[in-house]
Symmetry: C2
């Protein structure tokens, strides 16, 4: 059995993962960002004790332990180099956990652990490789090759959401222009919706939101109800997403593309409309395979399962 820890902005989620990749015991610790990093890592370690005590599983029966953490993680040293959400710089989390448990504890970025979990036990089960894009506030990404997290030789790679797809295009939250994130995140879709409502006060979307904030769901609901404005808007959004996925295919040629995050809740409705658009952005498609595009299936459990399977370095 393995222990996976998914360290998020709001809570730390723990799971004991069995050989069939089922989570057979769970524990949750609320995130207290006021604590010092050292105290907080100690609290995370004690959470493992609580998880195992509740499940009545001795630590000796756990043959792997890993943590997914937001931010830039130095996988070799186990250091949290920088984490924006919790404002950590150079926190020696991996070593502190290893000293506590007197065993190896592997660390990785949380998007990467979620991608690994989806490939090992979710939408990518049976595949060796996949690229996961999460379409939420931003566009997160995770590249899995040979059933392992792939991040490139230097730190900070595989930031597919910050690939430029429109030179001199829309400004992104990262400060650059034309990033995939500025076109393909749920936020980007909502922005398109807000512009539509501002321009056309009597449109179906304006009626749906009634002066409140436009959500991605409202836009998709109007699209599905046959509203032409929202259908145009969704098609525009999907073209940007398809362009980004086309680039991912041209670059990585993974066996599978997995979409997660809020927008992926549309499941087949999303992938069926998207797949033919992606095909137009793929290079040399007569001579090489275009991978299937699917939506994630594990939800929050992906991070726990992926973390449980992390290897050091």
């Amino acid at each position: 059995m393995k222990v996976g820890i998914d360290f998020g902005g709001m809570s730390v989620k723990y799971g004991v993962v069995d050989e069939e990749n089922q989570i057979i015991a769970r524990y949750t610790l609320e995130t207290d960002i006021k604590a010092s990093p050292t105290d907080f890592v100690e609290a995370i370690a004690k959470g493992v004790d609580s998880l195992l005590a509740q499940a009545q599983i001795p630590l000796e029966r756990i043959d792997n332990m890993g943590v997914g953490c937001p931010g830039i993680i130095d996988r070799q040293s186990g250091k949290v180099v920088y984490s924006n959400n919790i404002d950590w710089h150079d926190v020696d989390m991996g070593r502190q956990l290893e000293a506590y448990f007197r065993r190896d504890v592997a660390m990785a970025n949380d998007a990467d652990t979620a991608g690994l979990g989806e490939v090992l036990a979710g939408a990518g089960k049976g595949k060796q490789s996949a690229v996961l894009l999460t379409l939420g506030t931003g566009v997160g990404s995770s590249v899995i090759m040979e059933k392992k997290i792939w991040t490139g030789p230097l730190m900070g790679g595989c930031e597919l959401g910050h690939m430029t797809i429109h030179g001199n295009g829309e400004f992104c939250t990262c400060g650059k222009q034309g990033c995939l994130e500025a076109y393909a995140s749920a936020s980007a879709l909502m922005k398109l919706g807000e512009t539509l409502v501002a321009d056309k006060a009597d449109c179906a979307l304006a009626k749906a939101c009634q002066g409140n904030k436009v959500t991605a769901k409202m836009i998709f609901d109007c699209n599905d109800a046959g509203d032409q404005d929202c259908q145009e808007l969704v098609l525009k959004y999907l073209h940007s997403l398809a362009l980004g996925i086309g680039n991912v295919v041209n670059i990585f040629r993974p066996e599978l593309i997995i979409l997660g995050g809020g927008v992926a809740n549309r499941k087949e409705k999303l992938t069926q409309q998207l797949t033919p658009l992606v095909d137009t952005y793929v290079f040399g498609r007569k001579d090489s395979e275009v991978p299937p595009i699917v939506t994630s299936v594990l939800g929050n459990d992906a991070g726990i399962i992926g973390a449980a399977h992390l290897c050091k370095g």
Copy 2:
């Protein structure tokens, strides 16, 4: 000692490569595209016999043999899946060579072997990883990771020249729109020059070309002589190239970017102007390293040296 074979559109170049990665014997066979694939592969094999006979080196002393070939190569089977230049489809080149020599012969794409050669013995010597972009008629690319060619799980990957950098942008020879190749190849630069000459008949570049075809060198010469039109044009070109390199960095985080092809003949003049521009397109550059950008040093020998080091599969 190893034998490397660089199979180009015009000729097949052979080299015996020693342990210091020096080419100690050479042989060239002119490419006769009229011959059948089987006959031509036999001629290539006999070329190795000629190379070794001239150099008085017995085949037994050669401990590795590899071929770089244009097009899509199935590295596992050694098959030339498709090669545009020579119009080959599914040619079992690797197996035929192995049957002839009764030993392993590794096959790879020619841009990839050149990239491998540059990393092992040229601009990337001492590094484990680099991305090579060749700026010529098109934009070729090669990704080297852990001193090996990296192409992704399915065939046809790592086509960085066909990454879209301007959605709905300039048409590319591949049929897609907005590819890096359509903005950052030498041809793209020449096209910018031709547009300038057409718009402004009395400009310095128009005087330089005297009604002949604009070349990249003419544009750079006018730029270096202080002509403002050409300086603007070169800056526009370099911004597109920088954007593409920025994407490569955001995605792969290699230790080094190597530029080859005609445009890279500008050497430091190119990289010094380009590097600060690339910096503006790199994500999270405060927290992670931006790799150095250099130009290739081996020229045509890169393909021979890389091919000599190819491993099967």
